[in-house]
Symmetry: C2
Subunit: 495 residues, 2 copies
Amino acid sequence: MAKDKKAPRPKAETPKGFRDYFGVEVSERAEMLRAITGVYHHYGFDALESAAVETVEALGKFLPDVDRPNEGVFAWQEFDEDGKGDWLALRYDLTAPLARVYAQHRNALPTPYRRYAMGPVWRNEKPGPGRYRQFYQCDADTVGTASVAADAEICAMLSDTLEKVGIPRGDYIVRINNRKVLNGVLEATGVSDAAKQADVLRTIDKFDKVGAAGVRELLGKGRLDASGAYIDGVGLTDAQAEPVLTFLTSKGAGNAETLANLRGAVGESATGAEGVNELEEMAQLLAAQGYGEDRIVIDPSVVRGLGYYTGPVFEAELTFEILDEKGRKRQFGSVAGGGRYDDLVKRFTGQAVPATGVSIGVDRLLAALREKGRLESKAAGPVVVTVMDKARMAEYQGMVAELRQAGIRAEVYLGNPKNFGNQLKYADKRESPVAIIAGSDEAERGVVQIKDLILGAKIAQSATLEEWKERPSQFEVPRAELVSKVREILDSNDA
Amino acid sequence: MAKDKKAPRPKAETPKGFRDYFGVEVSERAEMLRAITGVYHHYGFDALESAAVETVEALGKFLPDVDRPNEGVFAWQEFDEDGKGDWLALRYDLTAPLARVYAQHRNALPTPYRRYAMGPVWRNEKPGPGRYRQFYQCDADTVGTASVAADAEICAMLSDTLEKVGIPRGDYIVRINNRKVLNGVLEATGVSDAAKQADVLRTIDKFDKVGAAGVRELLGKGRLDASGAYIDGVGLTDAQAEPVLTFLTSKGAGNAETLANLRGAVGESATGAEGVNELEEMAQLLAAQGYGEDRIVIDPSVVRGLGYYTGPVFEAELTFEILDEKGRKRQFGSVAGGGRYDDLVKRFTGQAVPATGVSIGVDRLLAALREKGRLESKAAGPVVVTVMDKARMAEYQGMVAELRQAGIRAEVYLGNPKNFGNQLKYADKRESPVAIIAGSDEAERGVVQIKDLILGAKIAQSATLEEWKERPSQFEVPRAELVSKVREILDSNDA
């Protein structure tokens, strides 16, 4: 009715940076989310689902990329009676909505409030290969306690979660650090200007890429990068840069050595000492619970981009190697991260509410498991009952109903039945294990034909004549034995 | 860093028409979606998840409310390098994205393509009580077949699904109709003007509210409504209005009688006859599979608002009564609907692609089950290990780790432990079944105190002194028996 016949045809395309997920991609993710939230639930975390849409005001300006604090979200303005309304936006993470929820409902919620949340988040960023503007996160946060036992608990839970979804011990490491240590190091440099401190933090974040010598140059006058471009430095003196370098290279052979080195790096800073003490307490709690340094380790190079962290920060990294697009080996890298953020709720209420949490990048974690062949990805196509005789449709429907009642996935072919070859091609495309054939001849004799498609494919590929004769891939059974015979074939395929 | 200290505090509020879901609300919905998609999967439907965001162009103008074809979505314009870009919008249902997906990927997809999808959809409408601008749908559609066997299958699956999620037979009815019958009736009226036909359809949709006499007035000159306002009529003559009324009152004692009445209502219209034949074929297929008229029945009063239906339409209604806001009894009403839409994919490709499907309003279905007390809603709060002595935190963490390894949900109290009463209040708020108490005295003696909070609450309410003595709600057990004793209490609560 509302259709204009003269309008040009719309393009059948996802918007740039968005994609569709099919079949097992969807069910594998659902299974992973179920497994993760199962662990969270066991740790006493409660589910929370907020809407995808928040006011821009409530979301705030805490996007990871602090260079562009006001960009990066999908936003629009509401129109009310007066023609103007609130600016709304899609959430860019699950933490900002949590801060709003806690501020809004704090009287009804327990304190501390442990909550988990999962779902898509949206970033209005330039899409790239494998980089989408909608992706899944699965978060757990504890709001309302300043105890580092809460941070330690999150790290332990993260470790348990990774093992639960199929990353074996040894293939991941949870690395922890503390922003107070960083702040202590900044104090030791004598840099008090906030903008300059932010520059120092950004430089520290490049340690992985440019190494200690590179950081030293970038903290000072600047550096000629690989492409030949000159990158301006932060402009610290050598004496100012020294604590930063001591800090960056302070990872020792074990937590004890690292902690000793960090005490050196923070010098006289009280904040820095507090940070080192917190790291020590976390390490002790985790060790007492049996989480060794092979699973959770202090690592000063963990900075985490987000400006809002105030204490412990942590990151889970997968340590096995994969091949990148260009066939080069590289570590898979980070799949989860988080930390303590004591000021997010304060934005709303004026009162500081200590909080800590972790966010798992579910799509990256799935990609890692696929890469390692650790997802079963059983397509489990349906049994297809073919249509030999359109007038017998009700009988075919009866067969699939029986199969389903026995717990077997099954369907009738509903395309044009004239070309029987198309029906078998369809079954192939569906990765069907079995096709059922029953025309009027079979009906008269009270039988059905069963075609074992998986065996058929094997035979077509490689069987000898003897094998072919011994176990034919198509055979006839009494109609009453349809379900039991199909079950037998499915079980033998699973074995 | 990006925070302006002088900025006024943001309001901690959801945008108008959005809400937060907590705890069991979230897990009950997750369980329902899992149950529904389990049935869909068994019927051979494959999962599809498209993004929440589509181009406005791809979404089209098919919103349910045809009075405002271009409104009702949350939309915004992209900004590319040149400052302008595509208009994007949040999906308002799961059918429009399916049409886009099928048009985009049709060469890779099987035909027919059975797919299911679930997730939130967004409507930019005026919110009202219980009426939100984000809600869940769970759809199943079959694309690429014109066979009414596909429509019958969807209706059978809908019936199975309702029973699977806990609506017993007798408490729901799937009502089916056919748009071709309606079109036949329109032909029989002699009204050929599209706008006027739409007016007739809208009037038919009011049958439930105003009855046959009301519809007769509204099809003619008009009608004084209950509020005293005069509603203009469509302006048909009595002779033109007659087939519409015959149609509306054609529901007989059973499908056979209804079909005979409908044949009368469509008169000489070939389209109408085709519609009646399709209804008859669906009824036969469903009857042959054992779906009686107590579950799925032909009902001419089902119109379905959406303009895009072209053949069979269906609607699932819950037939039990609930009390509305004003305490009046009323039927719960519709929880699912759908039908055949053969033109949606054509918008993209120019070729007609027959399709049919159903959408279940998951939030309404959950509301119905809650209303009837059919959701278990077991909060299943965690066992809370209290903190008697902060220095023993690692021991407490060890206890919860042991409990979790035994599959028991457990947590350490992480708030300020100074006031022990607050710890027990917290356990109450969490609906904890058991609290564990272990200070230095208990540690020395190798025991823990176990407090049965559910029994404690019962005793506090109603126990006699004898009962109190016989089964104390707090007792001491050796530390090694912590897990087995807690398990015993939990099992006795479940029994």
